[in-house]
């Protein structure tokens, strides 16, 4: 059961974060953090289709995370879902067209190995 939750979390989080990154890139850099400006930013994001889809995907991941936390240890639940790092780095290169240089690949690979050790 817990690996079913992990699968749902990984798929929904990877989709959500790629959509989030695409939506925020379209919105542009957030520069003003005064309350009024944050309100305007939130209003603009509420009309951003990528962000809406991202929040829906993150909501699926959130409820799956609730389910996972109810049946698994915290020290298993969170590291086990870190496989999203791999998916997201690949999606960042091929979907978002980011320049993922060798340093990023090495860094991401070290993170993945580390997460595997922590979660196993």
């Amino acid at each position: 059961m817990r690996w079913l939750f992990v699968g749902i979390i990984v798929a929904a989080t990877a989709a959500g974060e790629v959509l989030q990154a695409a939506g925020m890139r379209r919105h542009g850099e957030v520069r003003d953090f005064r309350p009024g400006a944050i309100g305007r930013t939130m209003a603009a994001l509420a009309r951003n289709r990528f962000v809406i889809a991202a929040v829906a995907a993150m909501a699926v991941a959130f409820f799956a995370n609730l389910g996972l936390l109810s049946v698994a240890d915290l020290s298993f639940a969170v590291p086990a879902t870190a496989i999203t790092c791999v998916l997201e780095t690949v999606l960042a290169k091929y979907v978002l067209k980011e320049r993922v240089n060798w340093l990023r690949w090495v860094g991401a690979s070290l993170v993945i190995c580390g997460v595997a050790l922590v979660s196993l």
Binding site: E17, A21, R25, V30, G67, E98, V106, V115
Partner: protein, 138 residues
């Protein structure tokens, strides 16, 4: 490093710890307030009103908003490894505060994560897409 790259790096270094800590604490409090197995669909809603779970949810909302802000100027392939230190910290929180033992294997894993994060955050620019992209893509 250009002035723009330095400005983004400073901004990223201010936001990344907030993203990491809100994620770690959010998950920790959710676990702390979790009653046990959620057997029925309605349990997924009622559990949100338990104090620790509600605090965890608030922290995860902060996590989501700060991460979105971070993604507005930094690459996903930069943000993912840099904030991945949260996975290790969450495992540590579970082990320290929920009284689980920390093995040598765990410490090795945490060391690898920190090394990976250092490589990405210290050796690459936060943003590889051009700043004017947001204007042309509207």
């Amino acid at each position: 490093m250009t002035h723009e790259a330095a400005r983004l790096r400073l901004k990223t270094r201010l936001f990344a710890p907030v993203v990491v800590l809100s994620g770690v604490l959010g998950n920790y409090f959710m676990k702390l307030g979790m009653p046990g197995t959620l057997a029925f669909p309605l349990d997924y809603i009622t559990v949100l009103f338990r104090p620790y779970v509600a605090l965890g949810v608030l922290l995860l909302i902060l996590w989501l908003l700060t991460r979105m802000a971070l993604l507005s100027w930094a690459d996903l392939s930069y943000v993912v490894p840099v904030t991945s230190v949260g996975y290790a910290l969450t495992a540590l929180a579970g082990q320290v505060f929920l009284h689980e033992a920390i093995s040598l294997k765990h410490w090795t894993g945490i060391g690898l994560i920190v090394a990976g994060v250092s490589l990405v955050s210290g050796g690459t620019e936060a943003r590889t897409f051009p700043a004017h992209a947001e204007e042309t893509r509207r």
